[in-house]
């Protein structure tokens, strides 16, 4: 079989702050997955955070590290690095308008290997400010520092406002 992306699931949710996509990693036999956030709308400027899910539920332990470069056309780019966080913080963000989320492409490595950490890379583009017409981009790497099998993930609207809607697709990389 030729190498390509293989569709696993599509989740469309509205009216929720936290949206979980469960059993998307462990159901199929891949080491490498792609998460494509196709749309994310909400009524307040905020970031979207991501937590992983294991057999015990959503993981909020302080085992997430990240390094992020924020790109904005109206200011200097900003490097942010954190260790021992409770989530992958601000994997994407938008100013909160209904038409202002662009897209987020996340790659997840080794989530189902019980003896390995789970690594992620991400890139994102969205509107940041409708008044000034500014752009927000992210380039991002992260690791979940627990050698265990991860079965899914949860996306969290950072300011506590409901997603309306959130559309996210998951693929395996064959």
């Amino acid at each position: 079989m030729a190498s390509n992306l293989e569709f696993i699931s599509r989740t469309e949710a509205s009216g929720a702050v936290n949206v979980s996509v469960e059993n998307c990693f462990n159901t199929f036999d891949y080491d490498h997955y792609v998460i494509n956030i196709e749309d994310a709308q909400f009524s307040a400027r905020a970031g979207i955070n991501m937590r992983l899910i294991n057999s015990g539920g959503v993981i909020s332990a302080t085992k997430y590290d990240r390094a992020q470069l924020q790109l904005r056309n109206d200011s200097s780019f900003t490097e942010t690095r954190n260790s021992d966080q409770t989530s992958f913080t601000t994997i994407s963000a938008t100013s909160g308008g209904l038409d202002e989320f662009g897209g987020t492409w996340i790659e997840v490595f080794n989530p189902t290997i019980a003896s390995a950490f789970t690594f992620v890379t991400m890139q994102h583009s969205s509107y940041y400010d409708t008044v000034t017409g500014d752009l927000l981009g992210y380039k991002y790497i992260g690791v979940y520092k627990e050698a265990e099998a991860v079965t899914g993930f949860q996306l969290i609207q950072g300011s506590g406002v409901n997603f309306d809607p959130l559309i996210v697709n998951v693929f395996g990389v064959s």
Partner: protein, 212 residues
């Protein structure tokens, strides 16, 4: 005839039931309900052979795909140190937007890193300077989001690697951009700002198929 009639059960991607005839497979495939892998689907490959300044992708299947993936391979111009750029069209290539591109990108050239930013640019800068021969080319991949939604802006993220003229500098860039017009985009163009040198390279566009 299938042993289980196709319509007697719910058919869905990753959940097809029964023994299906070729016609039923085609029917389910057209309904986006037949399980076949390879969701990064090739839309079109075009090769520029150095005989024109621009390369247009038109008739984009924006009703089928929400996310596109574009690769650029072995790209150079007939004049040294030109940038590879991209513009979009809402009228299937009759005209291409010449303003309203908002972009920011990190670029490395030799030992120098720089930030590129623009609020109302004339194009998206995909690849920094390339040379004028096969050993001094640029390569890039780009994701394109929301092209077909008339009520949303179109968004882009990309990574590139390239060599400037004479091999003087190895370069790379990565960035994000959007087209600051809410309209459905059905074509785009690979171009260069001065409009004179001719383009060489291979460009492949893929669509990301999803299932409800």
């Amino acid at each position: 005839m299938s042993y289980i009639p196709k319509d007697a059960v719910t058919q869905a991607f990753r959940s097809n039931k029964g023994v299906l005839t070729p016609n039923q497979i085609i029917e389910l495939d057209n309904e986006n309900k037949f399980t076949k892998f390879g969701q990064l689907e090739l839309v079109q490959t075009q090769t520029a052979s150095g005989s024109a300044n621009v390369l247009n992708f038109i008739d984009l299947p924006i009703d089928t795909y929400n996310t596109f993936f574009l690769t650029m391979t072995g790209v150079f111009y007939s004049t040294t140190n030109k940038l590879i750029r991209l513009r979009v069209s809402a009228d299937n290539g009759s005209t291409f937007g010449s303003t309203a591109y908002v972009q920011c990108y990190k670029q490395a050239s030799g030992s120098s890193f720089s930030e590129g930013k623009a609020t109302n640019d004339s194009y998206i800068n995909c690849i920094p300077n390339v040379g004028d021969e096969l050993g001094e080319t640029g390569h890039c991949y780009m994701y394109m989001y929301q092209l077909g939604n008339p009520n949303k802006y179109s968004y882009f993220t990309w990574h590139s690697t390239s060599m400037s003229s004479g091999g003087s500098n190895y370069e790379m860039s990565f960035g994000s951009a959007f087209y600051n017009v809410e309209t459905a985009i059905n074509a785009f163009q690979i171009m260069e700002a001065t409009g004179t040198p001719n383009l060489t390279g291979t460009f492949s566009l893929y669509g990301l198929r999803t299932y409800s």
